[in-house]
């Protein structure tokens, strides 16, 4: 099987049952994406596929051979953090950090969705402009759990970047 991850081509021959998450972590050594629940409930495994955020634990690697996959390793590096990553550090948007790669990937996808004008469950109007209020950010990020409960600071970090984008 052939994969394109963070712009790099990889060859791998995993068992057909291998999830995209297990391919990344166990076969390609890209351990930034985390396994929390392995059932799509916690969001720790969130990656971007063709720019869209998905749960990498709930999809088969074999189904993504022709896709552009972006993981946290492709979003920023320790020497060159992405703006969202810097904002998480500035706002103390984590304690243990296990959910953070998923939070960052999810927020990256989420900001793009908002830019496209996608409404959410809490949007008053379905076709109005999207202003990313705290309520909007919380609703749009509800697929990412943080058991340290750093939610207020996560929202602060995302709001800062959303404001810069606007």
């Amino acid at each position: 099987m052939h994969f394109t991850i963070n712009g790099t081509k990889y060859d791998a021959d995993p068992d057909i049952r291998t999830s995209l998450l297990d391919l990344l972590r166990e076969h390609l050594g890209l351990t930034g994406s985390k396994k929390g629940c392995d059932h799509g409930q916690c969001g720790a495994c969130t990656v971007l596929v063709n720019g869209r955020r998905i749960n990498s634990c709930l999809t088969l690697a074999v189904m993504h051979q022709d896709d552009e996959i972006t993981t946290i390793e492709g979003i920023g590096t320790p020497d060159n953090l992405a703006p969202l990553q810097s904002a998480f550090v500035r706002h103390d948007g984590f304690q243990c950090g296990y959910c953070t790669p998923g939070q960052i990937c999810s927020a990256t996808g989420m900001l793009d969705e908002a830019k496209k004008g996608w409404p959410s469950h809490v949007s008053e109007s379905l076709d109005g402009d999207i202003a990313l209020s705290d309520e909007e950010i919380r609703e749009r990020m509800s697929g990412n759990l943080c058991r340290c409960s750093a939610y207020p600071n996560i929202v602060d970090a995302i709001r800062e970047i959303a404001g810069e984008d606007a």
Partner: protein
């Protein structure tokens, strides 16, 4: 997870050829199927990948309706300008379901076929008639807070989990399918799901290898639309009760009402009796109470879910009030 043979279909015709072989599952978004395969509740021998089929368009139809490809992701459908404009109840229902990540992956066709989230269905250490026909149903005397109050049987009291399908039922949707012999079928959503009876493992009228290719919405009905979902968390939780409602008021009387419910039954629930109780009546409390009475006439709680009966009544009345208060 049990192993399986995998193939990717390039056309719907390819897919149904593959799907005609016993114990095969189509995979589109896979968000529910893979979850169930990990737990070995689903153990297909063959997986046909339909995620690349060219069924991802939303098109206006000549009659004013909308034709939705089965592979359109839930997120795209919710944000589609035509859906927002003419079928806001559908956008609202989709946005009330799952998380951003799941809506990006889950397909329109697959959403109809989600399996129940009954705890006992998910727990392979206990009996379940849906998972192992004839083994029994511990939910009836067990923890049944999330379970059904309408349409249940001795064999099964599980609910259908979808929000999308509730709105689709209120909108009189038609599902278009392709069968392995090449025939196409058009199935009204009102005929699509089966009551559990003594065969709760058979949930729809789909035949072996039959593939949902499109979903067709009739022209937008007159009236205002709303979807209201009551759940244990503010976001990312299944419905305890949900109501999809389309109500038109003309000259001080309710002229048209379409009501569908989630969280109450083994399928997205529709009550003609509740709708009939509204038609021709002034949009006032008395009519709303009568509609709730009609909807809940046969409702039966199983202990922990008894609260759903008054909760449904209040939710329905609140939705009807919200939709008609300008017109009253």
């Amino acid at each position: 997870m049990k192993t399986f043979d995998y193939s990717r279909a390039d056309t719907p015709q390819d897919a149904v050829k593959g799907g005609a072989v016993g114990n095969t599952r189509f995979i589109a978004g896979g968000t529910n199927l893979l979850d169930l395969m990990k737990l070995q509740i689903e153990t297909p021998e063959r997986i046909v990948d339909i995620s690349r089929l060219a069924l991802n368009e939303v098109e206006a139809m000549d009659d004013g309706g909308l034709r939705i490809g089965a592979m359109v992701p839930n997120a795209d459908l919710a944000a589609h300008p035509q859906v927002i404009k003419a079928y806001p109840v559908l956008s609202r229902a989709l946005l009330a379901g799952a998380s951003g990540q799941l809506r990006n992956k889950a397909s329109t066709g697959g959403n109809f076929l989600q399996r129940t989230r009954c705890y006992y269905f998910y727990d392979t250490a206990v009996p379940c008639n849906k998972r192992e026909p004839g083994s029994g149903c511990p939910a009836k005397e067990g923890f049944n807070r999330i379970h059904a109050i309408l349409g249940t049987s001795d064999a099964c009291i599980a609910t259908h989990p979808s929000d999308m399908a509730v709105a689709m039922r209120a909108l009189d949707t038609t599902l278009v399918t392709l069968k392995p012999d090449g025939d196409r079928r058009r199935i009204s959503i009102h005929e699509f799901y089966r009551l559990p009876g003594d065969t709760p493992h058979i949930e729809t009228v789909l035949e072996e290898g039959e593939l949902i290719t499109h979903v067709e919405l009739p022209p937008a009905p007159a009236g205002k639309q709303a979807y209201r979902k009551v759940r244990d968390r503010a976001s990312y939780a299944f419905a305890l009760v949900s109501v999809a409602a389309i109500v038109a008021v003309d000259d001080g009387k309710i002229a048209n009402a379409s009501l569908a419910f989630g969280g109450l039954g083994p399928m997205p629930w529709r009550s003609e009796a509740a709708e009939a109780a509204l038609i021709g009546k002034a949009p006032e409390r008395e009519a709303f109470e009568a509609a709730a009475d009609a909807l809940l006439a046969d409702a039966k709680g199983f202990g922990s879910n008894d609260f759903k009966i008054p909760l449904t009544r209040r939710t329905l009345i609140a939705v009807l009030r919200d939709l008609t208060e300008d017109a009253a």
